[in-house]
């Protein structure tokens, strides 16, 4: 267990050392939202705000995935992680938690501000935040699987997005639904169920993908 927390701390430390990575993700998040505002015009924006914020968050989350395993893959540290006494599934989980803290949480913090700018309806904010609090960890979990699959591939960045974005469609659907108070608690419960499912399956699948990448 100490190894588990050590990995989280190490990842957080390197993540915080590269603050420009985090700010690039946030800038991209804000930029996509701004593009939507220019694209659809300010008048109809309020109804779209939930969907726009979620779409922008999905795209921004894709940007930060390459730093999950790529550095370890490049410098050979991945083999050490696989051979280490800590189970690889736990290593993956630790890295996912660190990734969520350095990418998901900043997106979560910026979302209400962008919501104001996009004229998100008054009652939608609690739903947006609970939805994103449950949804962004799923993005990190599934994104880790994608990042592990493309290690060593050509055009890895585009490929991760192509693989993962279809799989996160349910997160988008329920996340946007959660922003509408009329839908009640159902979307939030679905998101929670998906988070538990992803928490159980993704570290395992990601570990399998990592093992075969160095075979």
């Amino acid at each position: 267990m100490t190894g588990f927390f050590a990995i989280i701390l190490r990842e957080l430390r390197t993540g915080l050392r590269h603050l420009s990575d985090i700010s690039a993700v946030l800038a991209f998040f804000a930029l996509v939202a701004t593009l939507f505002a220019f694209g659809v015009g300010p008048r109809t924006l309020g109804d779209l705000a939930g969907g726009v914020l979620w779409t922008a968050a999905l795209l921004a989350a894709m940007l930060s995935l390459d730093r999950l395993f790529q550095p370890d893959h490049d410098d050979g540290g991945l083999v050490l992680l696989i051979l280490s006494p800590v189970p690889l599934e736990l290593v993956v989980l630790a890295k996912v938690i660190a990734h969520w803290l350095t990418a998901g949480v900043p997106i979560l913090v910026l979302a209400p501000l962008l919501g104001l700018a996009l004229q998100l309806p008054e009652g939608s904010l609690p739903g947006l935040l609970t939805g994103m609090a449950l949804g962004t960890p799923i993005l990190s979990l599934l994104g880790a699987l994608g990042a592990a699959l493309v290690l060593g591939a050509r055009r890895a960045g585009v490929l991760t997005a192509l693989l993962i974005l279809p799989l996160v469609i349910p997160v988008l659907i329920f996340g946007v639904a959660a922003t509408d108070p009329a839908n009640g608690a159902a979307p939030v419960l679905f998101l929670a169920a998906m988070l538990l499912g992803a928490l159980a399956l993704c570290p395992w699948a990601t570990a399998a993908a990592l093992r075969q990448s160095v075979l």
Binding site: L149, A153, I173
Partner: protein
């Protein structure tokens, strides 16, 4: 089953089976087309456009079935290291993608006279569209590596992740669809299947399935030829190393 695990023996068997699957595909498809376009009656609601169903529904069914084939091949490749399962999965994927594209195109062509629009964000069409993205992702991943073994293994993991996700995606898209229910639409569905419709439908399914088998065998033969070329190249490099 064990006999199929030997690549050489399997390929000999597949070569022998291939002409029969081609013949069966031709016979079933010819009979199915004749039934679909000539014999079967027009629908009392949809009129003649119901004939599009006989090509749309079978291709949609096969597109889902072939994804299951890809996933099953990937599972037996990862779990039992079956030496041909990854070849089968990779050979099946482009065929599945073609059937998915076919289902989408014929669905759009059916939608125009039925709904007055080419595309409706209806649960069924949307799910098929996502399936196409899953196929494209799988094909892109398998071909993204310089080492084909690596592509095969990554693709197999992805196919299994996809097959676990498909029910969740289907459920979420259905739920989303009830949320945004557009004005009442007649569903693009077999309208209360009558036996005169079942015959052409089943003939087309059988014909397309045989077509799938035939093209699958041809593509697997290509893959085995590539494998042999690579092995030969490796041997040649090994023995003629001094000349290089």
């Amino acid at each position: 089953m064990h006999a199929l695990a030997n690549p050489t023996r399997f390929m000999r068997l597949a070569g022998a089976v291939l002409p029969w699957t081609v013949a069966a595909a031709a016979v079933f498809l010819a009979a199915g087309l004749w039934q679909a376009l000539v014999v079967s009656p027009p629908d009392y609601q949809q009129g003649e456009t119901v004939r599009i169903m006989y090509v749309h529904v079978p291709s949609a069914w096969l597109s889902m079935f072939i994804y299951m084939v890809v996933a099953a091949g990937s599972a037996s490749f990862l779990i039992w290291k079956h030496p041909l399962a990854d070849v089968a999965a990779q050979a099946a994927a482009p065929i599945g993608a073609a059937f998915t594209a076919m289902a989408l195109a014929t669905g759009a062509i059916w939608g125009q006279p039925t709904w007055g629009t080419w595309w409706v964000w209806d649960a069924r069409l949307t799910s098929v569209l996502v399936l196409l993205f899953l196929y494209l992702g799988y094909i892109a991943l398998v071909n993204a590596f310089d080492d084909p073994e690596r592509g095969a293994r990554a693709g197999a993991v992805l196919a299994l992740a996809g097959v676990i996700n498909i029910p969740i995606i289907k459920f979420s898209v259905d739920w989303w669809n009830t949320l945004h229910q557009p004005a009442s639409l007649t569903r693009l569905d077999a309208p209360a299947i009558h036996s005169s419709m079942l015959v052409p439908l089943l003939l087309m399914v059988a014909g397309l399935f045989m077509y799938f088998l035939a093209v699958l065998i041809i593509r697997m033969q290509s893959a085995m030829l590539v494998r042999r070329s690579r092995a030969l190249g490796r041997v040649a490099r090994g023995t003629a190393g001094s000349r290089a």
